[in-house]
């Protein structure tokens, strides 16, 4: 379905082979752990076995004495400017102020450890094995404290306190009350008391989800060389080389001008590679040794010592008229931040009711610290948790009203002009078109197979804009070199190159895109928030426009005509008045040197016209009534993407988000013992879905052009992970007759749900 103008694009909407394809399929691409350089030392990190403990002392002397050990660092090696705050991007479009001490202490502990896996010390040695052996020689004395492992425990009266200095921010004011609740905020619209009074039916239910991990294949890694001239060079796989640079600047208290970050290829991130973990420890070790130091996490470290996403406790209350009009909605959401404040509850609050035009609404959000790893962004952070509650409540409401669940949603759907409960008013959005596409889709039209359950749900992610830069140099053969700073996780190099190719009217194969380091390109924000194709694509569009303008001016000077009389279309510059005057971009390129020198285009953008994306799922499941095992029999993902620049990569994003959502729904969980140790910190027992666990994920691309982008692009990376958990829960409820209030829907849990 397309509601955008039927613009006749030459490059956009085609499916060219990716520029980095050959290197990736032949194994030649260089990822972070592949990095090597002369004199490289290997670092390892000592981690806490306790979920909550005070550190009495750390004795590193035996480790330092071990043959082959070059340096040991602890939290005492952080620079001594201890009371600062840092602005950090939380990956959701928000710059949040964070206590610099907390950021540092999460990477090398201070006087407390706040989760099992919390980093305490780093060792650099000639080999990784020696470094590992040295870890066992570091003696840490702990005073073990009672761990706080759930939101309910953390918010209980007399709960053990993680941070003696943490007081609750209550509706924007410091309450002065020491607690594990870092923040309580509200968004309000209308008057929910009146709204519930006006309702004919009310649904009210409580839902719980548990901590899950992004599950990227490549572990966190980083190599640092703190050179004798004071310059720090870091090679790592990250979602944002400039974020690494700026974070290192804050943590190490050195100017950004002294830091160069070279991003390697990246083996997945999904938000989890926005924060940094091992890079500053490698930097401190490099400073002490004068040698480059590489640290690569093990899988166990990735689970226990990086940033998963929050478990949550959510209460949803909806009131509606008998015709289906929602009169009031209340969401009460508390989310785990992990050991330090900063859960995704803020983003969840922006998304929970976003699909609907609700007159009276209230959202209460609570950011709660618990003795688990500090959470990090994970693909539409917080939104899947919120949708798990909201979209199940919507289905329950539909059942009470005896309405089709898609019709109920269409009755209340948000459209252009709808004001969200958190403030913004929507420009043109595609929620309605997504629901209509679902309703009319062969999947929804098909009769349900006997014994199967069917569920639907929709979800929203707002997407972000932010800074991006792009440079283009024209080669004498008419090809262009395009440099940009967005690390490429999902094929963005090619999508960005397609923007430039479309503007210049040249084949995308004539564009050579490169992701370059922080010394080589203008500031570019993270590959996150579904912003890369939107914002860096826009930068490429502007840089190509710059090249186009200069090319026309160059042709004008060659022909000695006014440049206003020329235009450039399909890679040909020609006169609007004289049909004899024309020349291809290739021909012009071959003459650059003789006609004034090379042509380079450039752009730095910070686009504000970001367009949110809606996605919907239809899911058919079967449930083994003797074992409780759920099999996904059919799965369809529908998403409004604005404009699909490279449809294959858009479909890949839709299928990838769906696959992760299926894993989240069915099996993935941090399985903690009562002491707060993760029992399943391996890919064997964490149970992400394999290819045999997934059906063919059917996709239906909806294109409702974003009016805030020259090609109508919205971000596509995240909205697709929002609906799977509730859609699957709704399908399982349909199959079993039992409401699923708890994730994951493991076989045992599904079997027990009937008891």
């Amino acid at each position: 379905m397309t509601s955008s103008d039927s613009t006749d694009y030459k490059v956009l909407g085609t499916r060219p082979i990716r520029h980095d394809g050959a290197d990736k399929v032949t194994g030649r691409a260089i990822y972070g752990p592949d990095f090597d350089t002369a004199g490289l030392l290997h670092g390892k990190i000592l981690r806490s076995p306790h979920a909550h403990a005070r550190i009495i002392s750390i004795d590193t002397s035996e480790a330092e004495a071990l043959d082959g050990v070059m340096a040991v660092v602890t939290g005492a090696d952080w620079p001594n400017n201890s009371n600062g705050t840092s602005m950090v991007e939380d990956g959701t479009g928000t710059e949040i102020e964070s206590n610099s001490n907390w950021l540092r202490e999460n990477l090398l502990a201070g006087d407390k450890v706040l989760y099992a896996g919390h980093a305490i010390a780093g060792v650099a040695a000639a080999s990784p094995h020696v470094a590992e052996e040295a870890l066992a020689l570091i003696e840490v004395k702990y005073e073990v404290l009672e761990p706080v492992l759930t939101i309910q425990e953390a918010m209980a009266k007399n709960a053990p306190i993680l941070h003696e200095g943490l007081t609750t921010q209550e509706l924007g004011e410091d309450s002065g009350v020491v607690s594990n609740t870092a923040d309580h905020f509200q968004h309000t619209k209308g008057n929910i008391e009146k709204g519930f009074e006006a309702a004919d039916v009310v649904v009210e239910r409580e839902y719980n989800t548990v901590m899950v991990h992004q599950g990227y294949i490549e572990p966190h890694n980083g190599t640092a060389l703190w050179n004798t001239d004071g310059r720090l060079h870091v090679w790592c796989s990250t979602q944002g080389s400039f974020v690494v640079r700026d974070s290192l600047s804050d943590l190490l208290d050195i100017p950004v001008s002294q830091i160069r970050v070279t991003p390697t290829e990246i083996g997945g991130g999904f938000g989890g590679k926005i924060p940094i973990y091992v890079e500053p420890v490698a930097a401190l070790l490099s400073k002490k040794t004068g040698s480059p130091v590489k640290i690569v996490m093990s899988r166990k470290e990735v689970f226990e010592g990086s940033g998963p996403t929050a478990g949550s406790n959510i209460k949803i209350k909806l009131g509606a008229k008998s015709d289906g009009t929602i009169t009031a909605a209340h969401a009460w959401m508390a989310m785990e931040a992990g050991g330090y404040p900063g859960s995704p509850v803020g983003a969840a609050a922006q998304c929970v009711f976003a699909a609907y035009d609700i007159e009276n609404a209230l959202v209460d959000g609570y950011d709660v610290v618990v003795n688990k790893p500090k959470t990090a962004p994970y693909r539409a952070p917080g939104a899947p948790n919120a949708a798990f509650g909201m979209e199940q409540a919507m289905n329950e409401l539909a059942e009470m009203l005896q309405m089709d669940p898609i019709d109920l949603r269409l009755k209340n759907v948000a459209t252009e002009g709808t004001r969200r409960v958190d403030g913004p008013t929507f420009r043109r959005i595609g929620a309605k078109e997504v629901l209509e596409t679902m309703r009319d889709h062969p999947h929804y039209q098909a009769a349900k197979t006997e014994g199967h359950g069917r569920g639907i749900a929709i979800g929203f992610w707002f997407n972000i804009g932010f800074d991006s830069a792009c440079n283009i140099a024209v080669n004498s053969d008419g090809s262009i070199n395009l440099t940009e700073g967005s690390t490429d996780i999902g094929g963005s190099r090619t999508s960005i190159a397609m923007h430039a190719a479309e503007v210049l009217g040249i084949p995308v194969e004539d564009v050579r895109p490169s992701v370059v380091d922080t010394d080589t390109i203008g500031f570019t924000a993270v590959t996150g928030g579904s912003r890369t194709t939107f914002a860096t694509g826009w930068a490429a569009y502007e840089a190509a426009q710059d090249v186009k303008k200069q090319s026309i001016e160059r042709a004008a000077s060659i022909w000695d005509v006014d440049s206003d009389t020329l235009n450039m279309e399909d890679g040909v510059i020609k006169s609007k008045t004289d049909s004899e005057l024309k020349m291809t971009f290739k021909e012009l390129a071959s003459q650059m040197s003789d006609t004034g020198g090379g042509i380079t285009g450039r752009a730095s953008v910070n686009p504000k016209g970001v367009g949110g994306s809606f996605a919907g799922n239809m899911v058919d499941v079967s449930v083994d009534d003797e074992t409780g095992k759920v099999t996904i029999e059919r799965f369809t993902c529908v998403q409004d993407v604005g404009k699909a620049i490279h449809p294959s990569y858009v479909e890949g994003q839709m299928q990838g988000g769906s696959a992760q959502g299926i894993g989240w729904a069915l099996n993935e969980e941090y399985f903690m013992n009562d002491q707060g140790n993760m029992a399943n910190s391996s890919l064997l027992d964490y149970r992400m879905p394999t290819s045999l666990d997934l059906p063919m994920i059917d996709t239906a691309i909806v294109e409702v052009a974003n009016p805030g982008h020259p090609f109508g692009v919205r971000g596509v990376g995240e909205a697709n992970i929002v609906p799977p958990t509730p859609a699957i829960a709704n399908a399982v409820s349909d199959a079993t007759g039992n409401i699923m209030t708890q994730l994951p829907l493991t076989p045992g849990a599904v079997l027990d749900s009937g008891k």
């Binding site: 082959g68 080999s127 094995h129 020696v130 052996e133 003797e626 074992t627 095992k629 069915l666 099996n667 399985f671 029992a679 399943n680 890919l683 064997l684 027992d685 149970r687 879905p689 394999t690 045999l692 666990d693 493991t746 076989p747 045992g748 079997l751």
Partner: protein
Amino acid sequence: MKWIDYENAKTVDEAIKILSQSGGKARPMAGGTDLIVQLRNKDPRTDADVVVDIKDIPDLNVLQCDPKTGLTIGAAVPLYKIYNDDNVKKYFPAIIDSASLIGGVLIQGRASFGGNLCNAAPSGDAIPNLIAHNGIATIAGPNGTRDVPVEDICTGPRQTSIGNDELLISINLPVPAAGFGASYIRFTPRNEMDIAVVGAGVSVNISEGKFTAARVSLASVAPTPIYVENAVNALVGETVGDAAIQRAANAAREAAKPISDMRGTAEYRKHLCEVLTRRALNAAIERAKEGK
């Protein structure tokens, strides 16, 4: 720093010699899919000074399937060779059940039934199946070879009755009597690369509508895979049908002594013992009826 030696034995004698001289700190390695992970994780139950690679020993690579003599599976034969063998498929189809579900395709290129047995995990997917097939393990040591029923090999988690100076050579399954059918079914939340929450390996012999013999074995419900005699007693001599099958399934549930862990609660596992034993018996009966 701890170094581990690697020895590549070419004969059984050479392997036995290395094992005998290593003071209990030598580990035979076939595919290494369990061993290498345990060594890398510094598992205290797998403390080794030397790893003895047995993949190049001819006696351990025998895969011989003959309707007259039975099936011999060399201890180092990788799973993919087992499930690609036409005779195994024809005469021991239930053996394929285990061979094709251990690990995933990549693991199956290296992992062996011998390794699965010697690793002695409570969840070992080959073990209940081998027990159900009356498997006999042939073990070589400094004083010659001995034969031991598979159900007597595992003595505890990662513990076996095979001595430190001994080496598993092969597992031998006898020729099935007429009316034989077997099956191995495991339950896992994920469809590959997973550990059995419960596994059930069974075999039956059927003659004139009655069970003349049966074997029932369970994985993941005790410190070792177990042979469930009460389930067998509920079948032998009885008419083939739901009543006897249900009694056997109930006996399997009662025999299970599982723990609660991240893979399932004890109660859920006991429930699955009943379900899987029943399902495995029905599958085995089908095969017996088809003459497979």
